[in-house]
Amino acid sequence: MKFKVDNSKERRLLTVEGMLTAQHAPEFKAILIEALKEANSIELNLEKVTEVDIACLQLICAAHKTSVKIKKSLNILENCSDIFKRGVKAAGYARKRGCININGDNKCLLVVALSKL
């Protein structure tokens, strides 16, 4: 897996290429933590993700929970790969509404990302 980070104070674009799986999860976690700390708006470009597993889906979900709590924006670009979309669906993470307890606005990162699933 390859990570690419495009920096700016306001917006940070994290591009992930290859396998978004457990073996890369610690690195992915560190990058997410750093991005949430440094930037106000984070975007995940998952266009070239070739595999995704539960470990990394949990990390995306966890990062989103944190972003809502600290009032920052975390989004997945709509160009995410079909493999990623299918992986999300196969893991049961595809949903129509978000976790209202946390963000109150009834939005979920994956709801938006998978709107075309």
Binding site: A22, A25, P26, F28, K29, L32, I33, L36, T50, D53, I54, A55, C56, L57, Q58, L59, C61, A62, A63, K65, T66, K69, D82, I83, G87, A90, A91, G92, Y93, R95, K96, R97, G98, C99, I100, N101, N106
Partner: protein, 720 residues
């Protein structure tokens, strides 16, 4: 289950099983090969076990008894491997690999109604039994529970819907068990929906990536009983919370299904449907009210909604008495659809053109909308024909293994981009060329282990097979880290065979291209693998028949790269519509580089030669008017479409260029199939036929007729 089906339905179901089995068998083969190379054998063994288990289950369902018998025995052995009761050995892999082919052969034979070779089946079964009998003393309980006839998955004769609540232990991911695979197994049992509860996932600072915080609700409608479901969770149930409840039984289909008061009133005509909907829209849904009151969180409501939706589907499905997750359609029907869509695309182009001339804003809007829909329809229709290239990639792992063993070499195949999609027809025709190329790489490219070691390389050679999209094309690369091509040997051989003369000085690319000529081979000894000089010329022909091209690059001592450039589809191309007199022609847009004007002055400058000067470069051109013997006067200013062929740039002179055109390729039929320079025809929006040009062929014909010279020497260039 099969007893409920008539012959036609059974055949359809068996065909569907064959397709599924093909995928499973490929997975089985890939995992077996991984056993030999991968350090972590656990994952490969799990995959083998699962593949065998699935084939056995589905095979039993559709009456493939011999398949069930074999896979049952193999499954038993690999179950013991999983449980560390027997060790994985080369012998076991060698026995299992041929089974991969035999399973598919038996499925084909059963479908064709041919007799099954029971002697062979028994032989395979006994070969596996040898492994289980070796450990009978220590594993008596395991063996006895699976001995005897292979247990088929038994149906209950009715469909039941289950709610499965699965909360795995936190360490399930550490144990390398992917819950997605369990869900995939469940999906083979029937229709199912899965919902992940994410409420226990902590925030990013507190999460431990290797732990599983997710738990799932699964709704499954299946004709198989509770045991079949438990079987899926057999490896994880010890440390997981698993609760399986029946929530719907097709026998009691009417229980609990009652009409609501509003529905009865509408049915009686006491109120109108619209009025009912108006009132209901003002009312809050129970889920929303419960969330607002803080009694339940939204994910639990969504999970319940999924269950409700699934039950509704189960009811509808029961009423329709059919389950259709996918429809199998004969390829001819699909081709007809693609043709119709293509004609619609052409018609739409004509419509847009006419509308733009009318300058009617309303009509323009409708035409634009029509254009958008047609484009979407075209894309969706073409996608139906697309298949991932891994369907053939996966076959080569076995091929590489067997061939390298035969040649005493150590070769590993690495594949990349298996998800790249290509038209079904292209994929089918690609198999043989790839076999030839990989075989050549192993036979001529990769050196023997000792030689590699002496050259400072690793003993194991690598062949990398990759695919990727680049615009409207797919690039397939076959790379090896072998000896590379011997340019001197190629030159000598070409001279010996009379392909070139001793004094000819060719650059590397030109020398490599000689390899694709008929009868060329540099192998010192003719083996049964390669070296007979047939193959690469055939490869080139097949690739060109697919409207593709082939390129070779090599570095002595470092390896060779062969690149195949192929179109995504053979059915529709982007073309450039041109006119000569009253005749229409289409030039594939992928071959077009630019269009320039040709004046009488430009022609005079050529001193009788068909050459045009483009920014200092002399490019030969062909007059389509002469080539196709079209009478009439040509215009004062003609157009030259500059194209890039296999042997360089060449221009085609036409009267005028109409514009880009989505072109549906139609075959010219058997009678005209051998006509050179034409790859097919298309029907235009006005009903006229336009011929589709094969630029490489046309350039070749013109060169043979001495009309043009594609290899201008510097002296000739300086004349102009």
């Amino acid at each position: 289950m099969i007893e409920d089906l008539n012959m036609e339905e059974l055949n359809i179901a068996r065909e569907a099983f064959k397709e599924e089995a093909r995928e499973r068998v490929a997975e089985l083969e890939s995992a077996l090969l991984e056993l030999e190379t991968s350090k972590d054998k656990k994952d490969a063994v799990e995959r083998i076990f699962r593949a065998l288990h699935t084939i056995k289950g589905s095979g039993a369902m559709f009456g493939f008894d011999a398949v069930t018998k074999i896979t049952h025995e193999a499954e038993t052995v690999y179950d013991m491997v999983r449980k560390n009761k027997i060790e994985i050995t080369k012998e076991l892999v060698d026995i299992t690999l041929p089974v991969v082919d035999q399973i598919m052969a038996i499925i084909e034979e059963t479908i064709a109604g041919s007799p099954i070779d029971n002697v062979l089946v028994d032989k395979i079964v006994s070969s596996f039994k040898r492994f289980t009998s070796k450990t009978v003393d220590t594993t008596s309980s395991t063996v006895s529970s699976t001995e005897g006839n292979a247990p088929a998955l038994e149906t209950q004769g009715k469909e039941v819907t289950y709610r499965i609540r699965f909360r795995p232990s936190h360490d399930i991911l550490i144990k390398d068990i992917d819950p997605k695979l369990l869900f995939e197994d469940l999906s083979h049992l029937g229709r199912f929906k899965v919902f992940a509860h994410t409420d226990c996932i902590p925030e990013i600072d507190n999460i431990e990536p290797e732990k599983c915080y997710t738990h799932w609700d699964i709704i499954l409608t299946t004709p198989y009983g509770m045991n079949a479901i438990n079987d899926v969770f057999i490896f994880v149930e010890d440390k997981s919370e698993l609760k399986i409840d029946v929530i719907f039984d097709s026998d009691s289909i009417n229980e609990g299904i009652y009409k609501k008061v509003g529905e009865i009133l509408v049915e009686r005509g006491d109120i109108k449907e619209e009025d009912l909907q108006k009132v209901l829209s003002k009312k809050k849904l129970i889920g929303e009210m419960l969330i607002e009151n803080g009694l339940v969180d939204s994910s639990r409501v969504e999970s319940a909604l999924i269950e409700q939706e699934h039950l509704k589907d189960a009811l509808i499905s029961r009423q329709k008495m059919e389950i259709a997750a996918s429809v199998r359609v004969p390829l001819e029907k699909l081709d007809r659809l693609v043709n119709l869509v293509g004609e619609m695309v052409t018609l739409q182009a004509r419509l847009s053109q006419t509308v733009s001339l009318r300058n009617d804003p309303e009509l323009m809007l409708i035409s634009e909308e029509g254009g958008r829909l047609t484009e979407e329809l075209r894309e969706n229709t073409m996608n139906i024909r697309m298949l991932p290239i891994r369907t053939i990639f996966s076959k080569f792992r076995r091929f590489v293994r067997d061939l390298s063993v035969e040649l005493g070499k150590d070769v590993s195949l690495v594949t990349e981009g298996g998800e790249t999609e290509l038209d079904k027809t292209v994929i089918e025709k690609l198999n043989d060329p790839l076999v030839h190329l990989i075989r050549n790489s192993i036979d001529h490219g990769i050196e023997l282990p000792d030689i590699r070691e002496a050259a400072g390389k690793s003993r194991q050679g690598i062949i990398r097979l990759s695919a990727m999209h680049t615009g409207p094309e797919v690039l397939i690369k076959i790379e090896d880290d072998g000896a590379g091509l011997d340019i001197d040997a190629i030159h000598s051989k070409a001279v010996k065979n009379g392909l070139i003369s001793e004094n000819d000085t060719l650059n590397e690319k030109e020398l490599y291209s000689l390899i694709f000529m008929s009868g060329f081979s540099t192998a010192m000894n003719v083996t049964n693998v390669s070296g007979r000089g047939v193959g690469l010329d055939v490869v080139k022909k097949v690739i060109e028949s697919l409207r593709g091209s082939i390129e070779m690059d090599s570095k002595r001592g470092a390896g060779t790269v062969i690149t195949l450039k192929l179109p995504l589809t053979l059915m529709i191309i982007d073309g450039l519509l041109v006119k000569v007199g009253e005749e229409d022609f289409v030039i594939p847009l992928s071959a077009v580089e630019e269009c320039i004007e040709l004046t009488k002055k430009d022609i005079e400058k050529g001193h009788g030669k068909h050459l045009v000067n483009i920014r200092g470069e002399l490019v030969p051109y062909i007059r389509l008017r002469n080539e196709f013997r079209i009478s009439g006067d040509f215009p004062e200013i003609e157009q030259v479409v500059i194209s890039r062929g296999n042997n360089g740039r060449v221009g085609f002179v036409v009267d005028n260029v109409v514009g880009e055109q989505q072109t549906v390729i139609k075959s010219l039929g058997d009678f005209y199939k051998d006509i050179k320079g034409i790859s097919g025809a298309t029907i235009l929006g006005n009903g006229k036929v336009a011929l589709i040009m094969d630029v490489n062929d046309l350039a070749k014909i013109a060169e043979e007729d001495k009309m043009i010279n594609l290899n201008l020497n510097p002296l000739e260039r300086n004349k102009l």
